[in-house]
């Protein structure tokens, strides 16, 4: 038996495909990406000229990059905070009822499995300048805001709209994680607290919240990485407008710099944006883990 499980040939045969794929499609390209970020790509000769930190210097002076970074950080903060509040609220309320819990849970989770591209088109129509929601607002004699066109303000209105659509779509994910954690808390803890005269709100504050804390870290880092990667919704809701209306996030700006017909093929600069994105992801995860690091209680 032991000899069988130590069979070198079999181990290599089993693990090799996965490891080879990982190295070839993930780790080698990451290395290449870091190298490209230090190069200037010449479209005509298709060569990469080493220019050191030139791309990063250029990006730091680029007003479009500043907007993309601002919007991405806005999405990061908004999604972390809003998903924490609503995800936890939904989870806490749902664990309090028995009938219909599964139905509610499954419906709220539904948009998570649907294509963001499709849902983005749907919401883009609902927030259209003349039809959709504005049609109803107009009929009631209310002002019709230019939901997806407005460029006023530090964080423009379209960003808020998309942030709320993203919250609508993905809050199910956080809710599920918190629910899994809350249903693992022993009932006797709550019963003991009720005997001691605690109210439901107090029980939530002093039992649920501390015991859910480790999951907050996990869920929030997932949100943070997800919101930094944010591409599908923005692209399908705003399309090519991101360019004209200054509504880029890092992912769309990377796509535009690298592949858009107008932006040209600045592979070097786009790779630099990719590197910044990865660094932000790691940084956000590290900060969140530090903030919510706590010992696991026995439950």
């Amino acid at each position: 038996m032991d000899k069988l499980l130590r069979d070198k040939k079999a181990i290599i045969l089993f693990v090799a495909p996965a490891l080879v794929l990982f190295t070839a499609i993930l780790f080698v390209p990451i290395g290449t990406s870091f190298y490209y970020a230090l190069c200037d790509y010449d479209k005509k000769t298709m060569t990469y000229n080493f220019i050191g930190l030139g791309n990063f210097v250029r990006l730091s002076k680029d007003p479009d990059m500043a907007i993309a970074l601002k919007n991405s950080l806005f999405f990061l903060v908004f999604s972390c905070v809003s998903q924490l509040i609503f995800g936890l609220l939904f989870a806490a309320l749902l664990t309090n009822i028995n009938k219909g819990r599964n139905l509610f849970k499954n419906v709220i989770y539904l948009p998570c499995v649907l294509s963001s591209a499709a849902l983005g088109l749907l919401w883009a129509f609902l927030f259209h300048a003349k039809v959709g929601i504005n049609n109803v607002l107009g009929a009631m004699g209310l002002p019709q805001p230019a939901w997806l066109y407005s460029t006023a303000g530090f964080i423009t209105l379209p960003m808020w709209v998309i942030a709320f659509v993203a919250l609508w779509q993905y809050v199910g994910q956080s809710m599920m994680l918190y629910m899994a954690q809350i249903s693992g808390i022993s009932k006797s803890l709550y019963e003991a607290s009720y005997i001691d005269g605690a109210s439901k709100v107090q029980a939530f504050r002093y039992i649920t919240l501390p015991l859910v804390k480790p999951m907050i870290g996990t869920a929030m880092s997932l949100n943070a990485i997800g919101s930094l990667k944010f591409f599908d919704l923005i692209y399908s809701m705003l399309g090519d407008k991101t360019e004209n209306l200054k509504m880029d996030v890092l992912a769309t700006y990377l796509y535009r710099t690298g592949f858009s017909s107008k932006g040209g093929n600045h592979y070097g600069r786009a790779s630099a944006i990719g590197v910044i994105l990865v660094v932000l992801c790691l940084l956000a995860t590290a900060i969140i883990n530090k903030l919510f690091k706590s010992e696991n209680y026995e439950m």
Partner: protein
């Protein structure tokens, strides 16, 4: 017999009211899109929220042919099914070796694979695009299958290794006594035993890749190689938006996932949660 009926509390009623409102918020847009998809162009602009006066089913036919949705759906299906099968085979082989077989570097291999969960696809986009263009893999479905496969593997290995660890040792030992080779142990005993895990991982892989947009957008510029999400975004151009074709297209694109979700929602929800928590 006395029936012990609890009084219904006001807070419980409030919770139900709240979640019923949420149901409307979540289901109304989907119901609305189905209704709007059978309106003609004038009616969409005139009364976007009304009940359709006439059911224009031909919208679907036009969207299907004009938007090349048929070929797009076929591409999506090919890519997702091939990725699914390869992920399950390669992923569970690696998971088995890591979870059950005895070798020094198994822990390191697991960490190596799990790092893949943290890395955003954007970061490898450009090197992969350049490399694949050199190998003539862009505008080729294989060029999409390879990265999808790689990015689906970490979750698969993570979930499957949990399943393989739960298989009792006695089972493997008795198989060994009966003269099974390690390959037979894996393919005829462990692989079939872990089918719950395979099912969950398979669903998640399929759904994730079915919805993927960025890679498909970059790699598939040829009209006949587009996947469904890419084909959808092409309905909106800076110059015109044909809403009466766009809505049927959206319905066509999300119906398969809705059906799959309705059939297996409990497994999907559980699977996505365990997959996301990663230990």
């Amino acid at each position: 017999m006395e029936k012990n009926k609890k009084p219904v509390k006001a807070s419980t009623v409030l919770i139900y009211v709240f979640f019923c409102l949420m149901m409307v918020l979540y289901l109304a847009p989907l119901a609305w899109i189905a209704l709007t998809s059978v309106k003609d162009r004038a009616e969409i602009y005139k009364s976007p929220f009304g009940w359709p006066t006439e059911f224009h089913w031909e919208n679907y036919v036009i969207a299907w042919t004009k938007g090349k949705l048929g070929i797009a759906m076929l591409n999506s299906l090919i890519v997702c099914v091939v990725t699914l099968i390869l992920t399950l085979i390669i992923g569970s082989m690696a998971a088995f070796a890591i979870a059950r077989m005895k070798w020094k570097l198994s822990g390191a291999a697991m960490i190596y694979i799990l790092i893949g969960m943290m890395i955003p696809v954007h970061c490898v986009l450009i090197p992969l695009f350049v490399r694949f263009a050199g190998w003539h893999l862009n505008n080729n479905l294989i060029g999409l299958i390879l990265p999808y496969l790689t990015f689906s593997l970490p979750t698969c290995v993570f979930i499957m290794s949990g399943f393989f660890r739960s298989i009792p040792n006695e089972l493997l030992e008795s198989a060994c006594m009966d003269g099974c080779s390690i390959y037979q142990i894996f393919f005829s005993i462990c692989f079939p035993l872990a089918r719950t895990g395979l099912f969950v991982t398979g669903l998640m892989t399929f759904i994730g890749n079915w919805n993927e947009l960025l890679l498909a957008l970059v790699f598939m510029s040829d009209g006949n190689k587009k996947t469904l999400p890419v084909a959808l975004t092409k309905f909106v151009t800076p110059y015109q938006t044909n809403y009466h074709f766009m809505f049927p297209a959206i319905v066509i694109a999300i119906i398969p996932t809705i059906i799959v979700y309705c059939l297996f929602s409990n497994q999907i929800v559980d699977g996505l949660t365990t997959g996301a928590v990663k230990g």
